[in-house]
Symmetry: C2
Subunit: 619 residues, 2 copies
């Protein structure tokens, strides 16, 4: 146990370093770092168990700054732990540095990106689920929370799930410094209110003075005692603590001190120090085994029968569960619609119900991914809009997560527009490095679910509510970035590009047009991102530059835009020639309720509309 | 006051009608309707104040089904109120009917669309803010909540804001029937837990048996007593209450009864009834006046000075506040960055701080819009991803709301990717009927803020953190759907399309290219949606079909895709050849921290890259 003086000296160093790095950078959040310095000094000296020489050590604790803007403090902690040099710390916010303005996992000690508030705790819940139920290792997850972010709904999703799952390995440290970006927070210094709320959500709570080192020490010791609930430490603190000119003053959020002020601050804090703390290493240990990987045995479906792709997703996920012991299932209280329930029933130990809390569901996925699990999270495709900030941030976290959205488009029918995903392709395409898949067939779906598992990164699959005919044999292969030319002849006059439900409309249109003496090329663009540009280019050339894209999605950002983009250039891959004439059939008017066929037809994306469009183009 | 027998008969009618309409439709949620029937029977008989002959009556109460899937019950209430006929009620879920699967405001009694759970209460908070602080009218907002949706973070954002603003005119009625879609909810019948949570969030709570008519009556009477807090009634209920074969049974969520079962259910419930209840009309009254509309006096900026468009947004919103008494300001705790604070300081009575709760912020906006106010809600553009489901649903609500997102793109600099909006254009374009604006200049920004106010629907403006040179005179006009050709000559060889920050890069590129003997046409595409297709077509023709689009956004779904789409045909507006070759310069790699110029250059969207791309195209 360090002495109180050692804690104090370390805390002052963390403050001084937070000021030094931000003043050098000319921007950043020193005052939000200073309020939590005492909390971190005691934590890293005596409670954190972390092997900085091996960030991948499975028994390491996890330290997450949910208040990501206190990154200068986190980097000061890394310096004090000897993990990064003072020189590197001082590159804060410089172009090319790993010491970014908010934490990102380009540094090996950072598990996940934070900086969009209200995300660190939900992700911590995911790691805690892994620790308690899958790894079965005694590590702890320490989450440093800001008080402003306590107003984010996602925080309460995390609190309720953590309480529900009795995540006793999770400790929240609330840096209640009262001052948000533009003034006082909703609750100010009302520690009792925070504690009452957390308690009502099933947490153990401790209220302390966050600058009293003995109280901090006692709180951590108390948090580590065996109990059945997560713990929230509500620490009353002062923003800018330690520098009298700005301590507890409004107007100092997110501002670096000018050099002269910084000099006075450092002097008042006792000057620069370069203490190195030997952070305790964890006991050795290995995660519980979940068995050996096996070859994936895809479910198979007979050509000619009718099966919904959401059913195939469920079957394939279950098969993947047998093949890969690290696959984990998550669902937002609709597993009997997404068919994640097949996995849940087969592998109850690797399934975590997330209830209707989509932000937390994606946060759990990211957290499980931190520990090497391969999460598949599902809900209605429309409801992933709820979690878009989490998905966006997952990309910055370089997370390896898989998302499945069912009930896409107007073809869901009677439930009406609130349940229809009509923007999910746009949303998911605009995620860095994402893969976006939209199968039309159950055998194809099964292949693509396996491909998602093999792919590193964020992959999204869109499934259909309705049963559709099985088109492809079980032995056919489909891959990310691929497509399938489903109908083709030397006399094709128009290319029709479709995916998912609209592929079946395109095939009906093919038959009708053939009867009228017109042949079309039909492409199944099941990989919306990356899209198979080469096949589209060849088809455009073969069909006189006439392309019709038909999709069950708004006109903006979906398959139509993806096809157009395949004919544009980027800096790296310049446009080779003029665009083909692309006609987009997509949803333009707000749909209502009705039968799937009625709604597809009213939206102008049924076979009838494809036929009419093709006829107009060739006539 | 109705008799207990009258309440009971009405409740049975509501149940029977919920069964009749869903069985006829072949789908829907009868059991979720039956659990809340007693609650609604007493409410509509004796407590609701609503003039069904005049849904726009300003003193009407507001009845919102946050559990939108209980729509059959809502329609049964409308029938019992004499507002719709039994015949119309029985068109539930049919194509073309106003009686959709989930409530939508194509029916004049429905304020807003629900069906994505967790939205009705946040919107109710917005109406309650209007009632208490703006209208200053004594109406009440009754929100019927499902227990499953209590796990949505947005519900807790609503609870905290309602508590904070002491919304004593808001009454939540929690239909705690224990059973979610696929099984038991997180809290089951733990009424104490719900009550403790709500109480900790500043609510008055009442726990009752939701099938005991006296307890229901007492609860409403109690809720209406003067107090300073919102009230939550936690009603213990049974799903499918009243039909013994399915009452409190799992497996009956979202399933219509087959005709034979329906027949038995209706018999057990005492048969069909057609009671009409005279719902009490409210006392007459008029909303408080906020003054007379005045002409808008735009702030003006001198050409040659440098001003950030976010600053101009703040100035313009304040000016709009002077011009239009119905403008209301909302912000997510960053008003000193979005500059909504100018409005907040000038019109504190019409500004509501939303703290860091973006879902609630958009919910408040939709609710304020229900009462005819014109809300402008702002936060960092990146954080609107948090509220995407609310924005999507706002479109289904036909809401008239205005959103402003600041700090767009890599050009924000040192804060890093968590704070950079790089998907907001994609997200906002894919909202039904939306307008998406991205100005490059403060005078232009001011004009566009006024245009947003004049436009009916969802309008989004993207602003820039950095100061940029003033390009346009204060007398120039800009409008939704417009664009500006900023550089033009007869010898233009390439068209460069830009908006916002990249327009300034395009102008630098123009100068450099001119020095090299190449002239380009530069288009300011400040209206990303709708985009000015005619100007793009003309420019393409004039510059040999060579177009370069440069944007501070991911490659997918943004300005580049919008430009491409302008050269595609829709069913109505087919593309006219010859088509251009489009090169997109956009953000491809995950950015880090750095100076704005460094990051723009690293992303390949700086003047240098435009110059190189143009040279490659013409050389």
């Amino acid at each position: 146990m360090a002495t109180k003086e050692q804690w104090h000296e370390l805390a002052q160093q963390l403050r001084v370093d937070s000021i030094r790095s931000t003043t050098k950078a000319g921007s950043g959040h020193p005052t939000s770092s200073m309020s939590a310095a005492d909390l971190l000094a005691v934590l890293m000296s005596d409670y954190l168990r972390y092997d900085f020489s091996n960030p991948k050590n499975p028994t390491n604790d996890h330290l997450i700054f949910s208040k990501g803007h206190a990154a200068p403090l986190l980097y000061a902690v890394y310096k004090a732990a000897g993990a990064i040099s003072d020189d590197e710390m001082m590159t804060l916010r410089q172009f090319g540095s790993r010491i970014e303005g908010h934490p990102v996992p380009v540094l090996p000690y950072v598990d996940v990106a934070t900086g969009s508030l209200g995300q660190g705790l939900p992700i911590g819940v995911g790691i805690a689920l892994a620790g308690k139920y899958l790894d079965k290792l005694p590590y702890h997850i320490w989450v440093v929370l800001g008080d402003s972010e306590m107003s984010e709904g996602s925080i309460w999703e995390a609190l309720e799930l953590a309480g529900h799952y009795h995540l006793s390995n999770l400790v929240g440290i609330l840096d209640m410094n009262r001052l948000g970006q533009r003034g006082e927070t909703m609750l100010g210094w009302n520690a009792d209110a925070y504690a009452a709320r957390a308690k009502a959500f099933g947490w153990h709570t401790i209220e302390i003075d966050g600058h009293n080192l003995d109280e901090i020490n006692d709180a951590y010791a108390h948090a580590l005692r065996p109990r059945d609930e997560p713990t929230l430490i509500v620490a009353h603190t002062l923003k800018g603590k330690g520098f009298s000119e700005i301590e507890n003053q409004p107007g100092w959020h997110g501002k670096a001190l000018p050099p002269d002020m910084a000099q006075r601050a450092i002097a008042e804090l006792g000057g620069e120090r370069h203490i190195i703390v030997q952070v305790y290493k964890p006991e050795p240990g290995q995660p519980a085994s979940h068995g050996q990987a096996q070859p994936f045995r895809a479910p198979t479906y007979e050509v000619g029968s009718s099966v919904a792709t959401r059913t195939a997703y469920g079957d394939a996920l279950k098969a993947l569960g047998a093949a890969r012991p690290n696959v984990v299932g998550l669902d937002g209280e609709v597993s009997n619609s997404t068919y994640a329930e097949y996995f849940a029933k087969a592998y109850p130990d690797r399934y975590f119900e997330q209830y209707i809390a989509e932000q937390q569901m994606v946060g759990s996925a990211v957290g499980l991914g931190v520990r090497g699990y391969l999460p598949f999270a599902s809900t209605f495709a429309a409801f992933f809009t709820r979690a878009y900030d989490f998905i966006r941030m997952a990309a910055i976290s370089r997370a390896n997560i898989k998302l499945s959205g069912s009930h896409a488009g107007v073809s869901i029918g009677e439930d009406g527009p609130s349940q229809m995903a009509l923007e999910d392709l746009a949303m998911m395409r605009a995620v860095h490095g994402s893969v976006v898949l939209y199968p039309s067939d159950p055998n194809q779906t099964a292949q693509l679910v396996a491909a998602m598992a093999d792919h590193q990164g964020i992959a999204y699959i869109r499934t259909t509510r309705e049963k559709t005919p099985v088109l492809y044999g079980a032995d056919e292969q489909f891959s990310i970035g691929g497509s399938r030319v489903v109908r083709q002849s030397d006399a094709d006059q128009v290319t029709v590009v479709a995916a998912g439900i609209t592929l079946h409309e395109a095939l009906k249109a093919y038959d009708q047009l053939k009867g009228a003496g017109i042949t079309i090329r039909v492409i199944d663009a099941y990989s919306v991102k990356p899209i198979d540009a080469a096949t589209l280019h060849a088809a455009a050339q073969a069909t006189g530059g006439r392309i019709v894209v038909v999709e069950d999605h708004w006109e903006e950002g979906g398959l139509g835009d993806a096809v157009l983009a395949a004919f544009s250039g980027t800096e790296a891959r310049r446009a080779q020639g003029p665009l083909p004439a692309v006609t987009k059939l997509a949803v333009h008017e707000m749909p209502g309720s009705g039968k799937p066929d009625e709604l597809m037809d009213a939206a102008g994306i049924s076979a009838r509309h494809i036929v009419a469009t093709v006829k107009a183009l060739v006539g």
